[in-house]
Each structure stands twice: as structure tokens, then as C-alpha cells.
Symmetry: C2
Subunit: 511 residues, 2 copies
């Protein structure tokens, strides 16, 4: 390990918490050691999981016609493996029980169910605004790419060819040229950029697309690594190298802020080692998150592509002096994998725990009654409480169903990770007050009694509590992360840290 | 032609205009004759173009590496073929010049450029809210479907097998079973519904997905029929046939309202003949729109699938009496084709004409100055006018570039279909007023002078004018449509109407 050759990471390191800015012991710049989980795989791009995860439950054939092994359906009992006992089994149980996703019929594919998709929609909603604010326009490129395109950039084809899905038959006929189902779009983007970019006045060209991508992964895991996944991919072209570098840094910063402020995930932003750099990029910036099992999740990446693709595709512009130049480019992506990151950062033995900013349901109201004459009053009150919160922009739902007991519902919505629960019984109706329980603080300690139903009091209480849950999730994750990062100054210290299952932070030669 | 056997179409016929409710001569129910353009093609589904369109400019090989024939780039002169001279050439010219879309490298594919994509985003924004209001949740199904699934429903495979794209190689290996790249999702949806639906309490199940779909079309046309396109597909399962029918009708109604109120397209809602019914459906409802060349565009469809797919996939539930029953289903879709419908409904020789509700830019501000000392004042005033409109929720843009003349910009934004133009020159700066020109009323007649810049006056004037443009586009389209529909009572009258290039309306046996 030689001298630190990283760029000034401090400029891209976003740290709203004091914990995150704690000075490192060996050197002033905070950078992340490659953990023992990081597997050098050159073909890694953004949504891959740079972690040696335990092998998945075997799914033998291409087509899995059987039901997933996990208990489902409203009538069956929900059982979640304790997180401490088997993290991977816990993760799969949470996904199945909270109805976030299910296995698709083709090996390695995933169906994103409404509750899981709603989390992805919340992610989209936030990022889409940020992308537009930073000058990007959405558009859409075809997903079928001529095979020859992939071969144009040498390291790109080397990285991606092992995991391509190829269309060879179209409209009943064998195709002359195989078509690649988009694993990422740099090649087709450059093909089009070459037609659109003529002069420096056409630059910068800054676009984004929300799309599905397909990569033939052998070891899959819902949300984390699947054969097809959803993502956004930004692509930009600039007149200078500096501008491209600035853009790549800007976007990793957007991702970092998103992770901290919305997902309550205290990612560490940094630069990938050469061996982990995106296939075709000059530099890859990444945000890495520590999961509940202390493994690292690559949660988003931003690539400075240099002129690698513009040279391969002849993407040139005439500069202000009339000279032809190759454009400088970036690309950056966050995928539906992020949903997996949220589950594995915040969840506990009781199930999912969602940060209020991204929770599809922020408040669940459970009406409680025993006698029939109590029912109407309780339900009416519950509805009016719902109205009050809804009109204040809070995502709220009532579960007034009669098939399940209140106790069952408490567990169910805890398992679904709903940040706040409001209980309304006959006594609350008379006292015009409610009981509010926090998902992140179990038992009586997390419960507040006698909160007035008066509109402004209730709204302000609920908003305050949601903000508290949001920041408490972040603080907890920061303290977990920091208690599992060890500063090391020698190879022996590094090995020691790794053997303890921790992350090691130390000087890094960036070779 | 026998007695009218259509369902009470009046219940799904949405007609805010009196023109649309004009009684037909031969029978009281307003239904559309199959025009001479309607080609009986059983495999048609929502986003196909049921029109005998003129053949596309030949694109010979699978991969088209050449640039499209249309002049592009900011430095080149824009030329649009007059609409009256060659409707199809006009359509392609508008798409290229307004930078709505471009050809992708694979034959028949399309790149949706930011301006075209923004129209699609406006469509999504409206419909997404309506779908949620009517009880549907978004989710996502994998796009790769085992070939065997497609074969399970007899008419479905018959309809779709000629236009499938097949993945035969994945991760470098020949696959055991070919995989279909989603042409529509009924099969995979039913495979999953079968796992999720157990009892009547799981019904209705009402979902939607925004996705790309692939169909190996031989004759393609940007937005209208492409190898890959974007759409939403709703899928629902119900306990009774009545409920499914109600849902299918509800969704064609949502589409109809959208077409009238947002796109200003006076579609005619009705039921498809048996031969045009979706492959696998019991009934297909459609909204058909009259384009500027009087051809019919199938702009959206809603299918009552009966129990066809639930029987093929064994999608059953236990009813309240403990009996196993097959579910009743619907599916419904609107696609990016709708953007083509907007172009072909409202455009004129000058180019695109966008309904304000869906226009990415509703107001373009053109600052005009000659002398350098006028420039700052004009630009500052333009900015403050922009601020005023933007804060009132109006989509507004300034073009203050110096490379082009104001006259060039006038033409350019007319071609882009921007509903209103605001001109600000030095004299307007002194008089604190602006000139406002309507896209839909050419020349001096569409221009208003001396509109005060005072915030409330300006905002209310602009909002009123936008609403006027919106309703004037609809009225114009209704009057064009109605002047080209002839009521017929005999086969001879039908032939006569068709020979005049009109639509014929008459009794229809629905066989």
C-alpha cells in the first residue's frame, strides 16, 4: 500500500452527521478500504453486488414453475427467520412476507409486487426531480442493440459479453445479426450521440432514461442481483475532460444526498479500484453501504467515461476553433437494488423498517372495538383521523378489516415496516385522543398515549414523529457503520479487522 | 347487416361536445362503422395501427447504420413537406424537425427524444393518477416469458407467434427453452395471479405496469408502430363476470376522458368486431381517433378477457360458498403511439400543434432587441415574466440565444407546437406590456398586443388563453371528425361514403 492517490474525496464525501466526519487515524482523508467482500470482477457495473453473498436456494432449470419456498397468502401464518440466525433467510422471508417481490417464472427473474414497487416509485420521484434540476432530460433508447456495437469498446465487450441475453429470432426468422437485450446503454447512446452532436453548441448533452436492463447473472437474489432489473441510467457528453469529471462527481453527490436524506443509509462515497471500475470507464465513483450483516452493498455508481466510447463510436464535435474533438462522457445509475439496500440496512427480527421519506404507508391506523355498538364510532373517528392526516400530505391507511385481530395487525404492519401506528379504541373516541406507536422503538417505550385528535396538534405531532423516526434510522445506521469500521495502518491490522468481520479503513494506492 | 347487437355503448361513450351527441340518422346509438382502413388482423392488440398506412421508406437490413433521410441538426435548414401534399412525409418531417424521435440502429426501433418523451411523461402523469384513483396499484413483471406460456391460450399464440422476439442464448449458452421478449403480459400475469389468488378475499386484484413491449412488426412508423414501444398495461381479476365487464368499461371510459380532456382528441369509443378483438379476449373495447388524413387510429383498448386466461392457467379462487371458480379478467393499454395520434390530429403545415394540457412547453418567451443597450432591459424583463408564469404553474421557457433571429425562433416554436408565444421588445419593456400569439390562430388574428405584465393580469390572461387553445383544438377536431362521418343505411350508401374517403356510421351486426 503506497501513498494515497485518490482524488480529493472530501469534495464528494457528503456527511451530514458528525460521526461520518470523524477523522481517520492514519490519514486525513476518509476513504473506504476494499473489504474482504469486494470481489475483483471487472465487469461489475452499478447494480451488481460486490459482496460474496451466500449461495441462493437452488433453482435448477431455466424455468421455475414451482412456487417459492416461502409461505404466502393471507390465510397462512407468517414466519420470519430471526435476522441474527440467518441473515439471508431473514432477507428472503421479509421480501415474501411483506409482499415486496416474488420469483418470476424464468430463473433469476423477479416480480416486483405493489408494496415493493411503491418504494421504487418513491425513489424515482425524488431522483427524477433532482436529475431535472441538474439539467438532465428524460428520453428513451431502444433495448435491442446490434451485437457489433458491444464489441466496439474493447473492455466493454470483455466485461459484458459473459452476461448477455441475445435475441436471435425475430418475427419467426433467424436474424442476420444477433441482438443484445440492453445490459446498459453506453453503446447505443453513443451511436445516437454521434448523429446529434455536431458543434460545441450541442454540448453539454445531458440525458437520463428510466428503463429495464437484462444481465445473465448466475447467482441471483431478489432486488440485489436479478436477471432483469429496473434502473435509471444517465448519459452525458461534454466539451472538456474537466466538465465530465465535474458531472460524474455531481451525480455521485446527488446519489449520496439521496441515500442519507431519503433512504437514511449512510453510504460512503469513494472511487472504485481499477479492477472494479466499470467496463469502459476511466474512473468509477461509488456509494457503498454497510448492510446489517456488515457486508458492503454497491448502491450507486457514477462513471467518468473519458473519451473511451466517443473514440470507439467517433462521437466528435467541432470546437470553437473549428477543430474536431472527441466528446468527454459520463454515465451513472441507481437501480431497484436500492430497495434491497433499504431492507438490509434497517430491517430487524420483526421485519421491514422503512424510512418515512420512502415509505408507501407512513401511518397505519388500527381501529379497535369489541362490542358492535362501539364499531361505528371507532370507524368514523378513524376515518376522520385519516382525512386529517391525508390532507396534510401524510401517506396514511386504515385497516378496518374484521378477519384479523388488532394484535395480528400490529405485527403485520410492523413486519411491513410502517413507521407509525395509530390505535383508536372506544376510550380514545370519548377522550378525542389517539395512541401512537413508533416502529423503530419497540414496546411501551415507543408508544405515546393521549395524543389529541385536534387537527393542528395531531398533524404537527405526526410530522414531528415521522421526522424523528427518519433521523433515528440514519443515526442508528451511522453508529452501526462506524462501530464496524476499523482504521488500519498496516497489512496485519487490515487482516485483523477483516477477520473480525469489520470494514477496514486505511491508505490505498489506487492501483 | 342485421340488428344492432352492440352493448349499450352510450354508457361508455363520453361526449362533452354537442357535436358528439348528434343523433345518428338510422339508429339512436352512436357507433362507428368499420372504416375501409380497418384491416381484419386478429393479432391486433392495443398499440397496433388498424389502418392501411402507406408503406414506410424502405429500411433494408436488420441494422440501419445510416442516418435517417431527414435533415437534422441545429445548423441545417428545416423543411417540412406540406401536410396536404403528402401526409406521411409531413408526419415524418414533423417528428424529425421537432426532435420528437429518431430511428434506432435496429430496423423498426425508435429513440424517443426528450421533447417527444416529455409528451409521453405528461400522458403518464395524468393516467397514473387516474389508475390509482380507480383502485389500481403499479407493479412490475419480468419481460422474459417462457415460450410455453404463450402457447397455453390457443388464440393468444395464434395472434402473437408471428411477431415474437425470442431470446435463445443467455450468458453464452443456448437456452433449454426459448424465452419470449414480452409482447404483452397476460400469460405471465396469470402465472403469478394463480399463486397470489386463493380466496374471494384476494379479489378484485387490480394492477398496472408501465413497461416496454416488443413486437416484430414488419411495417413500422415512428410512434405508431415500432418494434419496441412504451405502454401501460392494466390487468385485473374479479370474482364475477359482471365485475370484469364493469372494469373493462370503466377503463375505456378513463381513456376516453383522457383523450377528450387532455389530448383534445375526440375519439369514438366502441366495441371491436370479432375479427379485431384482442387475441385471447372475449370482448375488446376501443377508442378510435380520426387522424388529419381521415384514417382511423386505434388509440387505446380495454379487453374483457372472460375466463380465457384463467382457464388456460388455472387461476382459481374459493368463493364464499367454498367452491373453486375461475377468475374473470380484464386487461387494458395505452401506448406511446398516442403521441403519434396527437401529432396527426392537430398538426398543420407549420408543424406540430400541441394541446396545452400535454405540451412540455406551454409558453415560449422570445426576447427581441436590436441595439446592445436594449438587450439587458429586454432579457431582465423576459426573466421576470418567466418567473411570474412559472410560479403560477405554467410551463414556460425563454429562448434568449443570439445565433438565431426572432423570426427564425417564431417559426421554430410554431413547428414545435408551443401553444402560446410571448414577444418582448424594448417598447414592451417601457410600456410594461407584452405581445401574445396563439399557435392555433395564424397571423395577426392570433396576436394580442399590450397585455399588461402585472402579475395577476398576465397570469389570468395566459391561463385563459391556454384554456381557449385547448378547447379550440378539441372543437376543431370534433368538427373535422363529424364532417367526415356519413350516416349510412344501406350497403350502397356505405360504399359511397368509403369512396369519398369518409367514415361511415351505420347498423352493425357485431358478428
Amino acid at each position: 500500500m503506497g501513498a494515497l492517490r485518490l482524488p480529493a474525496l472530501s469534495s464528494i464525501f457528503f456527511s451530514p452527521s458528525s460521526a461520518a466526519t470523524a477523522a481517520a487515524r492514519c490519514f486525513p482523508l476518509l476513504s473506504r478500504c476494499p473489504s474482504h467482500f469486494s470481489q475483483p470482477r471487472r465487469r461489475f457495473s452499478s447494480p451488481n453486488f460486490s459482496v460474496q453473498s451466500s449461495p441462493e436456494k437452488g433453482i435448477p432449470s431455466e424455468t421455475q414453475d414451482h412456487k417459492p419456498p416461502i409461505v404466502q397468502g393471507k390465510e397462512k401464518e407468517r414466519v420470519i427467520t430471526p435476522r441474527s440466525q440467518d441473515f439471508n433467510a431473514w432477507y428472503l422471508d421479509v421480501i415474501a412476507n411483506a409482499e415486496l417481490a416474488d420469483y418470476g417464472p424464468v430463473r433469476g427473474t423477479m416480480v416486483i409486487r405493489p408494496y415493493g414497487y411503491a418504494i421504487w416509485e418513491a425513489i424515482q420521484e425524488y431522483l427524477n426531480v433532482k436529475f431535472k434540476e441538474t439539467g438532465h432530460s428524460n428520453m428513451y433508447f431502444p433495448q435491442l442493440i446490434p451485437y457489433s456495437f458491444i464489441e466496439k469498446e474493447a473492455s466493454h465487450v470483455e466485461g459484458f459479453s459473459p452476461e448477455l441475453a441475445l435475441v436471435t429470432i425475430g418475427g419467426g426468422k433467424e436474424l442476420e445479426e444477433k441482438l443484445v437485450v440492453r445490459p446498459t446503454s453506453e453503446t447505443i447512446v453513443n451511436h445516437m450521440f454521434t448523429q446529434w452532436i455536431h458543434s460545441y453548441r450541442d454540448l453539454p448533452l445531458m440525458i437520463n432514461q428510466w428503463a429495464n436492463v437484462t444481465r445473465w447473472e448466475m447467482r441471483t437474489k431478489p432486488f440485489i442481483r436479478t436477471l432483469e432489473f429496473l434502473w435509471q441510467e444517465g448519459h452525458t457528453a461534454h466539451a472538456t475532460s474537466d466538465e465530465a469529471e465535474k458531472e460524474a462527481m455531481q451525480m455521485i453527490d446527488v446519489y449520496t444526498k439521496f441515500a442519507y436524506e431519503q433512504a437514511a443509509i449512510p453510504v460512503i462515497a469513494g472511487r472504485k479500484s481499477k479492477v472494479e471500475t466499470f467496463a469502459g470507464a476511466s474512473k468509477t465513483y461509488t456509494i457503498e453501504a454497510m448492510m446489517g450483516d456488515k457486508k458492503a452493498l454497491q448502491a450507486g455508481t457514477s462513471h467518468n467515461l473519458g473519451q473511451n466510447f466517443s473514440r470507439a463510436f467517433g462521437t466528435q464535435f467541432t470546437d470553437e476553433n473549428g477543430l474536431r474533438q472527441h466528446v468527454w462522457q459520463t454515465s451513472w445509475a441507481i437501480s431497484s437494488r436500492f430497495v434491497g439496500g433499504i431492507i438490509m440496512t434497517h430491517g430487524d427480527d420483526a421485519g421491514l423498517m422503512l424510512p418515512p421519506c420512502l415509505a408507501p404507508v407512513q401511518v397505519i391506523i388500527i381501529p379497535i372495538w369489541k362490542k358492535d355498538d362501539e364499531k361505528t364510532g371507532v370507524l368514523t373517528t378513524a376515518s376522520s383521523v385519516k382525512e386529517i392526516l391525508q390532507s396534510a400530505g401524510i401517506k396514511v391507511k386504515i385497516d378496518g378489516s374484521e378477519q384479523k385481530t388488532p394484535g395480528w395487525k400490529f405485527n403485520f404492519y410492523e413486519m411491513k415496516g410502517v413507521p407509525l401506528r395509530i390505535e383508536i379504541g372506544p376510550r380514545d373516541v370519548s377522550s378525542r385522543s389517539v395512541v401512537i406507536a413508533r416502529r423503530d422503538v419497540p414496546g411501551k417505550q415507543g408508544k405515546a398515549f393521549g395524543i389529541s385528535m385536534e387537527q393542528s396538534t395531531l398533524v404537527s405531532y405526526v410530522k414531528t414523529k415521522l421526522a424523528e423516526v427518519q433521523s433515528s434510522l440514519l443515526e442508528r445506521a451511522i453508529s452501526f457503520r462506524d462501530s464496524n469500521i476499523v482504521d488500519v495502518c498496516s497489512y496485519n491490522e487490515l487482516k485483523e479487522a477483516i477477520s473480525q468481520g469489520k470494514w477496514a479503513r486505511g491508505p490505498w494506492s489506487a492501483r
